[in-house]
Amino acid sequence: MASAEIDVKYVAHLARLALTPEEEKQLGTQLGSILGYIEKLRELDVSGVEPTAHAVPMVNVTRPDEIQASLPHDAALRNAPRQAGGLFIVPKIVE
């Protein structure tokens, strides 16, 4: 496993999460110790072991391809922070 150093600023950017400088510093220390603990998994030889994504032995689950009612338009928009004309309002994306 990689070293227990973590570039919090970079990872926070990947996660789209604004952090204060204090939060960055504190998270760096705390995550360093958590990653240090996680290092113990390196003790295990997992060569030849298949990964488990989840514990249910089912794959390619589908439901019948039938049209069903969906959430009404106004119910889907009811919780929007900003909306107009039946649409979600967002900042300009393309100049």
């Binding site: 990689a2 999460l17 995550l31 994504a53 989840h54 919780n79």
Partner: protein, 484 residues
């Protein structure tokens, strides 16, 4: 007092018309008014709506309707969608969110006649072991209000222990039902992964999350599991297995059942009073005719580390949806990325941020194989430990937690110590098996509940509940009441 009844006691008294649903609902609301200022199990509740549901139930009872939970007040963790009720996951980021639909488990409760009410406090997005990570304030343990109720479903456990409802729903990703049930002295059941639909449960770690009940005895847990279980086309991990009559499995006869005691769980950090209670429970099982044998789950020591890679990785992906666009609170920005970042920075609390960063890191380019894939392989080893053990034993018995309830603030400054408090409950979720915590004694001074954990095979809830019920009926612990 009516609010102290179990579901089975209430439903028989309702059927005999000795009490009304309105009376029992009012008794719960009165208890909330009396004690919830101290306990703070509820983020909010809607008394008028609860009483309206109670009146509707009473009308059905008069008409002779037969439903398993008709007129039973059941409170809900703030992580499950109840149509037209708030849903916050104890976070600021959801703002004034009102659920537009019912979770499948809520539809099932309503169809069974339950009075579905209240939003129970929890650790934000179910991330925590003490309910201290809530944007809505602490929940207190009804046995000692200076102590935590456990978490993340701390409100669900405290509300049942304080008789503010007859039963409640919670969710369990790494012990979030069993651990608070143990610390508050009630019964908490985590069903097998896939037994209960997750549709309408706000996702934390999708491969580990499962909805389950908190109750005052094992019979009620069996009744509720029967209502909650079943295949759901809206959850692709829900398993099309028939739902047995769980209450019918409670025969009291556990002669010849083989129970494994994993030697890896008798660790150094185990409190002597907890150990003594578990030892006494093991003795009780042998008196009841079960055979207890020592077993080994050799990868136990790796479970917490494995969990905190897998759960945080899944959480970092699941929580990407909270971006301030379609719902929840928004902090504006000059472009979408600034809007997302500011919204999430202002909306999430410290533990959620910690886990999003850790989860994003273990999935990031260059680290995915070293952390995430490696952890998924260790997960296979942990699961195989259990499947191998179940070739020789019918169930596994352990303490639910290493200690009784700790003090508020005691571990909140040290995330790793907090994570290690889940050491006995986490493996069950990684392995996808079922588990239940039942009261098995008390510490001396102060008097705090101790929980016994029973773990069962995938879809082995019937034999798990039979064992738990036989033990409960042979011991006095579940009859003890907190006096908040």
């Amino acid at each position: 007092m009516l609010n102290q009844l179990t579901i089975s006691e209430l439903t028989s008294r309702l059927a005999r018309r000795e009490v009304s649903a309105r009376e029992v609902t009012q008794a719960c609301l009165d208890q909330i008014a009396r004690v919830d200022g101290k306990i703070h199990a509820f983020i909010s509740h809607d008394p008028a709506d609860a009483l309206a549901q109670a009146d509707a139930a009473d009308r059905e009872i008069v008409r002779g309707a037969k439903k398993p939970l008709l007129g039973v007040p059941i409170a809900i963790k703030d992580v499950l969608a109840v149509k037209n009720q708030p849903l916050n996951c104890a976070s600021k980021i959801l703002g004034n969110y009102i659920s537009p639909y019912d979770a499948t488990v809520i539809e099932k409760l309503k169809a069974a006649g339950a009075i579905v009410f209240g939003r129970l406090n929890m650790d934000e997005f179910a991330m925590g072991s003490s309910t201290e990570n809530s944007a809505f304030g602490l929940t207190r343990n009804p046995w000692d209000v200076t102590r935590i109720p456990g978490g993340s479903s701390g409100g669900s456990a405290a509300a049942v222990a304080a008789d503010e409802c007859l039963a409640s729903l919670g969710s369990d990703t790494g012990g979030s039902i069993r651990q608070p049930a143990a610390l508050c002295g009630c019964v908490g059941l985590k069903p097998t992964y896939g037994r209960v639909s997750r549709y309408g449960l706000v996702a934390f770690a999708s491969s580990l999350d499962q909805v389950g009940p908190f109750t005052k005895d094992v019979r009620d847990a069996a009744t509720l599991l029967g209502v909650l279980s079943g295949h759901d086309l809206r959850d692709s991990t829900s398993v099309p297995q028939p739902v047995p009559d769980y209450a019918a499995a409670l025969t009291g006869d556990i002669r010849g059942v083989k129970i494994g005691l994993p030697k890896e769980y008798m660790i150094g950090g185990l409190d002597p009073e907890v150990k003594a209670s578990v030892d006494a429970a093991v003795k009780k099982f042998t008196e009841l005719g079960a055979e207890v044998v020592e077993i080994s789950l050799p990868h136990t020591d790796y479970a917490v580390a494995t969990y905190y890679i897998i759960a945080t990785a899944e959480a970092s992906a699941n929580l990407a949806r909270f971006d301030g666009i379609r719902y929840g609170a928004r902090v504006d920005g000059s472009d979408p990325i600034e809007l997302y970042s500011r919204t999430r920075g202002a909306g999430f609390g410290p533990e959620v941020k910690r886990r999003i960063i850790l989860g994003t890191y273990v999935l990031s380019s260059g680290y995915h194989d070293a952390y995430y894939l490696h952890a998924q392989k260790v997960r296979t080893l942990i699961r195989n430990d259990f499947l191998r053990a179940f070739e020789t034993v019918d169930a596994i018995v352990t303490p639910t937690t290493p200690t009784a309830a700790f003090r508020a603030g005691e571990k909140s400054g040290d995330p790793l110590q907090m994570y290690l408090s889940d050491i006995f409950t986490i493996s069950c979720n990684l392995a996808g098996i079922c588990g239940v915590s039942v009261p098995c004694g008390f510490t001396n001074s102060p008097k705090l509940p101790i929980g016994l954990q029973l773990l069962g095979q995938p879809f082995g809830e019937e034999s798990l509940l039979r064992l738990a019920h036989a033990y409960e009926q042979a011991t006095p612990w579940h009859k003890e009441k907190a006096a908040p």
